[in-house]
């Protein structure tokens, strides 16, 4: 799954709204894991700077688009499916069925089940009236998750405004930065991006995209946890 980078993106970077990558702004081409590696502890102000990624139209493409484009190519051999593309909603098994099976005790293939199955978690966003469930296992890292979440919730932050006009966006969102947080297995609320992606998928119980002001209280606790872990 290629990451779309480019000059345009870098210029917009300063004003860009981004989700969940701490420890400095990763360019679109880097994976989240590389970024996370540079120390688990973040400065407080950096933490609050995390913002919702909505800007370029390329990053707004969700996984479905990528699969669709592959299928739409006229010359493709219909026999071969798009390599490694993750497809939403396939096989057609309802999410609660997938999730429940992921926690079943398996006498024969326990290790396989741990890596297989699904990891559906609820995602809520402050101000948005609805929840959504996402399967964390279909994303390869924080960047993909960020793109998907941005796509999912974009209409709440921009309403009718053309979301491609970044300047207008900044006015609208003046002072209302959003911060992605998650509840882990211990019931603590953590900032997304704290831990390596695989660990995050295992421990994340639910996601909440909080208004920045509310997340301020989280930072000290999150840093505490980082200390204990390392």
């Amino acid at each position: 799954m290629e990451m779309v980078g480019g000059e345009e993106d870098r210029r917009l970077e300063e004003t860009e709204l981004r989700l969940g990558l701490p420890g400095g702004r990763a360019s679109e081409g880097e994976t989240a894991v590389a970024v996370i590696k540079c120390g688990g502890k973040r400065g407080f102000s950096e933490t609050v700077d995390l913002m919702l990624n909505l800007s370029t139209k390329e990053t707004l493409m969700d996984l479905n688009d990528k699969v669709k484009r592959n299928l739409a190519k006229e010359n493709d051999d219909p026999v071969k499916p798009p390599a490694k593309a993750l497809v939403v909603g396939w096989p057609p098994v309802r999410s609660f069925r997938k999730n429940i099976l992921a926690v079943q005790k398996s006498d024969v293939k326990e290790s396989e089940m741990m890596s297989g199955g699904a990891a559906f978690v609820k995602v809520s966003m402050d101000g948005a009236p609805y929840l959504r469930k996402v399967d964390l296992k279909i994303y390869k890292g924080y960047q993909e998750l960020s793109n998907a979440l941005g796509n999912m919730f974009s209409s709440f932050t921009v309403g009718m405004i053309d979301f491609m006009n970044v300047c207008k966006l900044m006015d609208l969102l003046n002072g209302s930065d959003y911060v992605p947080t998650y509840e882990d297995k211990d019931g603590d609320w953590m900032l997304v991006g704290d831990v390596p992606w695989e660990m995050f998928v295992e421990s994340c119980k639910r996601l909440r995209i909080m208004r920045g002001k509310e997340a301020i209280g989280l930072a000290p606790r999150a840093m505490e946890k980082c200390k204990n872990r390392s």
């Binding site: 707004l60 969700d62 479905n64 688009d65 699969v67 669709k68 299928l71 739409a72 219909p78 026999v79 071969k80 499916p81 497809v87 939403v88 909603g89 396939w90 096989p91 057609p92 098994v93 309802r94 999410s95 609660f96 069925r97 997938k98 429940i100 099976l101 079943q104 005790k105 398996s106 006498d107 024969v108 396989e112 089940m113 297989g116 199955g117 699904a118 609820k122 609805y130 929840l131 959504r132 469930k133 998907a148 796509n151 999912m152 919730f153 974009s154 209409s155 709440f156 309403g159 009718m160 979301f163």
Partner: protein
């Protein structure tokens, strides 16, 4: 019988003779009362005006297959004496995350209309609709005779709404929550809210409520519900707690067993109750489900009831072939069986040996990923085909299949009404011959004359759809994914399947030209869904212009708006409607 004395119409007499129409109407109404099938009623209403009126007055169950096909106002104006409503909202692909988070299908406007028009309303059955806690409260206030609420695949409500319903609807007999998404932000002890002095409850299902419950309250509730026949528990009920419930309610006919495992706090070696005896006392039990966190050691407890079971749902139970065999060998009356593919072909062979009356089989994958191993194959399918000749409905998830097996099923199971085969790996051919699965599905439509629902998968060329178009005259619901080579495939279907009502297609190379091929038929359909195909915005607009009473929606799966410059439309969802474009569509859903 009629109010007037029977008098020969047209004869003069001392008293005012009833006019012929009046007598006819009375007779008609009394006869029509017995007509329950809605298809029959629809036919009756077309005979003439007076029959239309009589039918409208005597229809007591209102069925709306698409909540946007007709407005609440129109429905309540025509049908004045309804006491039971069935309402369906979102299309089925919403279950697979293919719809935007916010789309519609809100119950509130319907509820408002019903509250005004049908204060005597007794039953509400919703499928894929959004119903809020406020709606549940409104139901409690508006309908003093309310008796049955069934919610299937719904969302938008939580335990606070359930609490209000439980406490205010004193005549509640049925509360069935089936595969709903229940909000868990606010956990209210709703089971404590039922009336203290006893309830009329006959059926209580809450297996989809993924929240802990107050077990003592549940136990007391069961104790004061003498009419309770159906009880489906969630996974927060341990087997020890289950025991306490069934000893109080041996009259149960339907039981969802909850976790079917001991609580986490339990210590092995601790004295355990006689589960087997408790089940043995439930001599009326015909349906078992649940087994959400099953510890197979406890399975022998259900052996005493197996001989009576007509329906067994093991679709959450990770059982191997041996464990299933040990149960199923007693289940000679079984008609419906849902299992996981962990039972393997061998488990299915055991089913085929014993369950000669089987009419419905569903085999779900424990690992629902495209590249998972898959534990059942054509071997299991053939066994079932040979052993279960009365089979009517099958849903089968697998990774390996052959045309020969599907053909065998088409030849042996003449009563097949529903055939849904899901080969999970996309575009997979017959794994022995490497050919497309065309011949297998072709045989199904050719040989199964009663077939009304078909879901196809695997590697399929246009040829398969040629068969479906030619022979699939009785098919009403068709599901297509990752199949076909060209527009011809869809054209065959749209031109051939004259009874087609619901067509859902994803990720298949069908474009505008194919779409046009269905213009003659779309008014006869409930809906058409096409996602990730090759439909353009222009093509969709064309359809919308050609068929003014079709609502044509285009949207993407996220909340981003449809872009004019996109080559293809993400999702096209269109349906006939008497009302024109709906006024509650969110901004990211474009109605053409």
């Amino acid at each position: 019988m009629g109010e007037n004395r029977a008098e020969v119409p047209g004869c003069g007499g001392d008293s005012q003779p009833p006019c012929p129409d009046q007598v006819l109407e009375n007779v008609l109404e009394n006869v029509l009362r017995f007509l329950t099938s809605r298809r029959d009623r629809n036919a009756v209403s077309l005979v003439c005006k007076s029959w239309y009126l009589a039918e409208a007055l005597t229809r007591s169950e209102l069925f709306i297959g698409n909540c946007y096909a007709v407005s609440a106002r129109r429905a309540t104006e025509r049908f004045r004496r309804v006491n039971s409503v069935v309402l369906k909202g979102k299309p089925r692909f919403a279950d697979f995350s293919l719809m935007p988070l916010i789309w519609g299908a809100h119950f509130t406007p319907w509820l408002t209309a019903f509250a005004a028009a049908y204060p005597w309303l007794e039953k509400i059955h919703l499928k894929r609709m959004s119903i809020t806690d406020d709606d549940l409260a409104q139901i409690s206030h508006s309908f003093p005779h309310f008796k049955e609420l069934t919610l299937v695949c719904c969302d938008g409500f939580g335990t606070s709404g359930l609490a209000i319903l439980a406490s205010k609807c004193r005549q509640l007999r049925v509360l069935d929550l089936i595969e709903d998404e229940v909000e868990d932000d606010d956990v209210v002890d709703w089971l404590s809210c039922f009336p203290d002095n006893g309830t009329c409850l006959e059926s209580l299902s809450f297996d989809c409520v993924e929240l802990p419950i107050n077990f003592d309250a549940l136990e007391r509730l069961v104790a004061r519900s003498p009419n309770l026949k159906q009880l489906r528990l969630n996974q927060f009920v341990s087997i020890g707690q289950l025991y306490r419930l069934i000893v109080r309610a041996p009259q149960l006919t339907h039981l969802g067993t909850g976790s079917f495992s001991p609580p986490e706090s339990w210590v092995p070696g601790e004295q355990e109750p006689d589960y087997r005896a408790a089940f043995a006392a439930c001599s009326s039990l015909v349906y078992l489900s649940g087994f959400r966190e099953i510890v197979p050691d406890y399975l022998p407890a259900i052996y005493p009831v197996c001989g009576n079971l007509t329906s067994l749902n093991f679709s959450y139970a990770n059982l191997n072939a041996e464990e299933l065999k040990a149960v199923v060998c007693h289940c000679y009356k079984l008609q419906t069986l849902w299992v996981l593919d962990t039972v393997r072909d061998e488990g299915l062979e055991a089913v085929a040996t014993t369950c000669k009356d089987l009419t419905e089989l569903r085999v779900f994958p424990i690992d629902a990923r495209e590249d998972s191993e898959g534990f059942v194959s054509e071997v299991g399918l053939i066994a079932i085909a040979e052993g279960c000749r009365k089979l009517q409905s099958i849903l089968y998830f697998c990774q390996r299949m052959t045309n020969a097996a599907v053909i065998a099923m088409s030849e042996k199971c003449h009563d097949l009404v529903v055939f849904r085969l899901c080969i999970m790996g996309r575009h997979r051919p017959d794994h022995l011959t490497n050919e497309p699965m065309d011949e297998g599905f072709g045989a199904i439509v050719m040989n199964c004359k009663k077939l009304t629902r078909l879901a196809v998968s695997g590697l399929l060329t246009d040829r398969a759809f040629g068969y479906i178009g030619k022979y699939g005259n009785s098919v009403r619901t068709l599901s297509i994914a990752f199949a076909g080579d060209s527009d011809m495939a869809l054209k065959y279907v749209l031109e051939g399947c004259s009874n087609l009502q619901k067509l859902e297609i994803r990720d298949s190379p069908f474009g505008d030209s194919a779409l046009r091929a269905g213009l003659h038929h779309y008014y006869n359909m409930r809906f058409l869904w096409m996602s990730s195909c090759k439909i353009t915005l222009e093509g969709s607009r064309e359809i919308s212009k050609a068929l003014p009473q079709l609502v044509v929606e285009v949207f993407r799966s996220g909340l981003a708006a449809v872009r004019d410059e996109d080559e293809f439309v993400d999702t096209l969802y269109m349906y006939r409607s008497l009302e024109g474009p709906r006024n509650d569509a969110p901004t990211h859903v474009r109605i053409l």
